[in-house]
């Protein structure tokens, strides 16, 4: 999930010809002032924190300015705010437009229909989650013919647009559809899409690019998303690693088994906090790297729960033993292992040689991990 900040989303919007307010990004109050003085940002203007979290309006992260000095003050106030754990490093300054309507528009995937879905609502400008379902219209869009004229007409009707704004909507929808396809978007959202005079303007832009399509979009490779430093390292090493609050580390293979392991640990009063999904690998070195990463998260205990398929038990055991050799004594932690499946016997033997016992039962091994995390009684 490559989430683009508003200003980057708007850069993409611009590429597809979606109408936007005039504006620019500033990373310091001085920059904000010079953007206003140069006329790049017309007055009055809006100053918006560039963070990925929603609900900025209520957190003082969106302010208004009618002069260069107000723009400086607003930028100063916003930069350095922390917003749901994310420090604001950039603000977007944009002309404040006089608008007559705020609408909602998005394209995303409808998994059940296995089709893209165009979502529209005349109740824009608020979080769509808070809008009543009867006020939200959904239309499946078939990728073969693409977005059709009749779908656009229904969108215009739902949004209550005729004349100039309806024509503008046609172009905006066409552009959004192309963007959705060509940028491999998971979500494109415009909220609000504003009626300004006789046309439409996208006041906000939310674009999420699908991770799996990142290979087609090297231009977004620098986007860090909201990852912890360890998650970021994991991502670079192509290891599925999620860090939350909690003191038990879980190394498993496959999302389903990882989640089931979590369910069982919670059942026995455990507090799992780091999840490492080995996925399908049979490279012992990758297992070693994953394990060292886990060590850096300083868990109280680690549960290794592997069912060998593509990932063979002996591969995991080898990688694990190598990692344990590398972990400094001070960072060691109790390790409970359960390895089953392909090459189970070989894996168990390798672990045993390194002093680790594999407990075959999921229930019993989970109980052992929870006990280990609580520390000596």
């Amino acid at each position: 999930m490559v989430k683009l900040a508003e200003w980057r989303g708007k850069d993409v919007f611009r590429k597809y010809g979606i109408p936007l307010p005039k504006g620019a990004v500033a990373r310091s109050p001085e920059e904000a002032v010079s953007l206003v003085r140069a006329g790049t940002v017309p007055l009055p203007c809006v100053v918006k924190a560039q963070v990925l979290a929603g609900g900025r309006g209520k957190g003082g992260a969106v302010r208004f300015a009618t002069s260069a000095s107000e723009a400086r003050a607003a930028t100063e106030a916003i930069l350095g705010l922390e917003f749901k754990g994310e420090r604001v490093k950039e603000v977007l300054l944009e002309e404040k437009l006089v608008l007559s309507k705020e609408l909602y528009l998005s394209l995303t995937l409808d998994r059940s229909a296995r089709l893209p879905v165009l979502i529209t609502s005349a109740k824009g400008g608020v979080e769509i989650e808070s809008v009543d379902d009867t006020e939200i219209d959904r239309q499946s869009v078939d990728p073969f013919p693409g977005l059709t004229g009749y779908e656009k007409r229904r969108a215009a009707q739902v949004l209550g647009l005729t004349g100039g704004p309806a024509k503008s909507l046609d172009r905006v929808l066409e552009a959004l559809w192309r963007l959705f396809l060509l940028e491999d978007a998971e979500l494109v959202e415009v909220n609000p899409l504003a009626v300004v005079g006789d046309g439409l303007v996208a006041l906000d832009a939310k674009v999420i690019i699908e991770d799996d399509a990142a290979f087609r979009h090297p231009e977004f490779a620098d986007i860090r998303d909201d990852r912890t430093p360890l998650e970021e390292i994991a991502r670079e090493k192509d290891i599925a690693f999620v860090q939350l609050d909690g003191n038990i580390g879980v190394i498993a293979n496959g999302a389903g088994l990882t989640m089931a392991t979590l369910d069982v640990l919670k059942e026995f009063g455990g507090d799992p906090g780091v999840f490492l999904d080995l996925g399908g690998t049979d490279d012992p070195q990758k297992v070693t790297e994953a394990f060292l990463l886990m060590a850096r998260a300083r868990p109280k205990a680690v549960f290794l729960n592997i069912f060998g398929g593509v990932t063979r038990c002996d591969t995991v055991a080898k990688g694990l033993v190598e990692a344990m050799r590398q972990v400094p004594a001070a960072e060691r932690f109790p390790l409970i292992a359960r390895i089953r499946g392909n090459n189970e016997k070989e894996g168990i033997e390798i672990l045993r040689a390194a002093g680790v016992t594999s407990i075959p039962s999921l229930k019993e091994s989970a109980q052992a991990v929870v006990a280990a995390a609580r520390g000596p009684a």
Binding site: R111, F144, G254, A255, L257, M259, G279
Partner: protein, 294 residues
């Protein structure tokens, strides 16, 4: 008669010369699958694990009359591999490849459907009927012929559960790993009718995950059309909202698709619900025992 695979299934492995393709060609053959050929463009004329390799699916079909494909080719080329299989007339393609962009999969799914072809996957362990054939990567050791059907959105967790069924002395008719990607070729609702009609299946185990609404739709189908006993399990009951646990199938969004809504729907449909994977085999064994006493 089993589900999806049968004794006349002749499997082609696309991407056979890659490491995974080669390893699993061997394992499929060890399972008893009739792997008739492989395809890797530019490698035609060679052999892998004693299986002839062709440059194109069309050439492979001419030579081998293959009627199913197992796709291991890397994600950027998987769409092309599937289209080639469909255009050559392959009616069933199991796509093991993970990380295929869902925009690609949308085209693959709808094109295959328009041509009357079925996809299982992507990012899936595949299909296996012990004693008959396996297409995919589920470890051979977990199987034993029997009358329990399994459909699952998970990978490894499926192995765990299938193995558990074996350990209580039962066996499987067919196991299908659907894959947990946002767009799958075969969903629970697509697979359920196959098990309903399969005379080899007495009981069905359904393994779901949080995210999406596939389990709710399955519950609806079970309630109205499925007459065999069902044991269901949903992984991720305690997963923190909004964090993904490994793949896109596991995002919780907007209060729908939670473990609670899924479990409630399955219970209402008459399925027995397991709280943990290790409860499944016992629930299945109890059903089998009860049915035997009827």
């Amino acid at each position: 008669m089993t589900v999806l695979v049968h004794r006349e299934t002749r499997v082609l492995v696309q991407g056979i010369t890659g490491h995974q393709g080669t390893v699993h060609t061997r394992q499929m053959r060890e399972f008893g699958t009739n792997v008739v050929g492989g395809v890797t463009p530019g490698k035609g004329g060679s052999t892998v694990e004693g299986v002839p390799v062709f440059d194109s699916v069309r050439a492979a079909i001419s030579a081998t009359r293959a009627n199913a494909s197992c796709i291991f080719v890397p994600a950027p080329f998987a769409k092309d591999a599937l289209l080639e299989a469909v255009d050559a007339g392959i009616p069933l393609s199991v796509i093991v490849t993970e990380h295929i962009p869902f925009h690609d999969m949308l085209v693959m799914y709808h094109y295959a459907r328009s041509q009357g072809a079925r996809i299982v996957g992507p990012n899936c362990p595949g299909v296996a009927s012990p004693g008959v054939a396996k297409i995919g990567i589920i470890p051979n050791v977990v199987f034993r012929p029997g009358r329990v059907g399994v459909i699952s959105r998970s990978g490894t967790l499926t192995y765990e559960i299938v193995n558990g069924i074996k350990e209580v002395g039962l066996g499987q008719s067919t196991c299908i790993g659907l894959g947990g990607d946002p767009v799958v070729g075969t969903s629970f609702v697509d697979a359920l009718p196959l098990f309903q009609e399969d005379p080899e299946t007495d009981v069905l185990v359904l393994v779901g995950e949080i995210g999406g609404t596939a389990e709710e739709e399955a519950a609806d189908y079970i309630q109205h059309h499925f007459t065999k006993p069902v044991v269901a399990y949903i992984a991720g009951r305690s997963a923190p909202p909004g964090k993904r646990m490994g793949h896109a199938g596991a995002i919780i969004s907007r209060g729908r698709g939670t473990a609670e809504t899924k479990l409630a729907a399955l219970k209402a449909a008459g399925a027995q619900v397991a709280r943990f994977p290790y409860e499944i085999p016992d629930l299945v064994a109890a059903i089998v025992a009860r049915e035997a006493h009827r």
